[in-house]
Amino acid sequence: MANHTNHAAHEQHDEHGGHGSIKAYVTGFLLSIVLTIIPLVAVMNDMFSKQATTVLILVMAILQFGVQLLFFMHIRDEKKPRFNLIALIFGLIIMLTIVAGSIWIMTYNQVAT
C-alpha cells in the first residue's frame, strides 16, 4: 500500500483549491430535479402497480444519491488512496445490513395489530 499522501497531488491541490465547475453544478441540479419529478409523477398519478412504483422510486432515490455524490460532493476528485470512498462504501454496506437485516428478522416478530 502506498504512503498516506502523495506529494505531487498535494502540490497541485493548492492551485485548484476547491472542486467542480458551474457546469457540473447546473447539470447536477437539473438531474436532481428530474429525478425528483419522475417518482413524484409516478406516485401521484398511480401510474404503475404498487410494486413497480416502489422499485421505480427507490431506483430514482439511489440515482439521486449518486448525482449528489458525484456532482456536488465530488467523490471522484479524491486523491489516492481513496479513504473517503472506502469508508463510504463500508458505511453503506453496514447501513444496508442494518435496514435489510432488521426488516428480515422483524418480519417474524411483528406484534399483533
Binding site: G18, G20, I22, Y25, G28, A87
Partner: protein, 212 residues
C-alpha cells in the same frame, strides 16, 4: 501540525526554512479535519439507517389510529423538497465563489442557502403543527413515533446547519477567506449536500411510499 509538513520534506530529503511551512502545515491540518468530518457524516449515515430501519419495521403499527397516507399533505412536502434541492445547489455556488476568492459572493450564496434552509424548516414546523392538529403526535402510535423521530432528526440536523452557517458567515465577514475558513465552508457544504441526500430518502420512503 508540524510533523505533517516535515513528513513531506523529510521524504523528499529537502529542508527549507520554516517560513514556508506554515502554509503547508495548516493545509494538511485542514485536510485532516475535512476527512474527520467525512467520517462523522458516515456515522450519521448509520444513524439515519437505524432510524429508517425502525420506521420501516414499525410502519404498519398505527394502533388503529391515523396512518401517514391519511394525514400527510403532499403539497408542502413537494415544495420543501424542491427548496432543499435548490439550497444544495446554491451552497455549491457558494463554494465556486469561494474558489474564485470572491468573499462577497460566497457570503451572499451562503446566506441564500441558509434562507432556503430556514424556509424548509418553517414548512416542516407547519407540517408538524398540521399533523398535531389532526391528532397525530409522537405518542399516537409506533408509526407516528417513528415518523416524527425520523423526520424530526433530519429537521434538527438542518437547524444545526443553519446556526452553523450563520456562525460561519460572521467568521467569514471578519476574517475573509483563509485556509481555515475555506475548510469550514467546504465542510458545511458537504454537510448540506448530505442532508439533501437524507431528505431524498425521507421523501421517498416516508412520504411517497406513505401516500402510495
Amino acid at each position: 501540525m508540524a510533523e505533517a509538513m516535515m513528513k513531506k520534506t523529510a521524504v523528499h530529503g529537502s529542508h527549507h526554512g520554516h517560513g514556508g511551512h506554515d502554509h503547508h502545515d495548516h493545509h494538511e491540518q485542514e485536510e485532516m479535519k475535512t476527512f474527520g468530518f467525512w467520517l462523522f457524516l458516515i456515522s450519521d449515515v448509520i444513524l439515519f439507517g437505524v432510524l429508517f430501519a425502525t420506521f420501516i419495521v414499525l410502519r404498519n403499527n398505527t394502533a388503529a389510529g391515523p396512518t401517514g397516507g391519511e394525514l400527510i399533505e403532499m403539497t408542502g412536502i413537494i415544495i420543501s423538497t424542491f427548496i432543499l434541492l435548490t439550497s444544495s445547489f446554491t451552497s455549491g455556488i457558494a463554494l465556486l465563489e469561494m474558489n474564485k476568492g470572491n468573499k462577497k459572493g460566497l457570503i451572499f450564496w451562503l446566506a441564500v442557502t441558509a434562507l432556503l434552509g430556514a424556509s424548509f424548516i418553517y414548512l416542516e414546523v407547519t407540517e408538524f403543527l398540521h399533523l398535531v392538529h389532526e391528532g397525530a403526535t409522537i405518542g399516537t402510535s409506533a408509526y407516528w413515533s417513528a415518523f416524527f423521530t425520523l423526520v424530526g432528526t433530519h429537521g434538527l440536523h438542518v437547524s444545526v446547519g443553519l446556526v452553523w452557517m450563520t456562525a460561519l458567515i460572521i467568521q467569514l465577514s471578519r476574517r475573509g477567506i483563509t485556509t481555515v475558513t475555506k475548510r469550514k465552508v467546504n465542510i458545511v457544504s458537504l454537510y448540506w449536500h448530505f442532508l439533501d441526500v437524507i431528505w431524498i430518502f425521507v421523501f421517498t420512503i416516508v412520504y411517497l411510499m406513505g401516500v402510495m
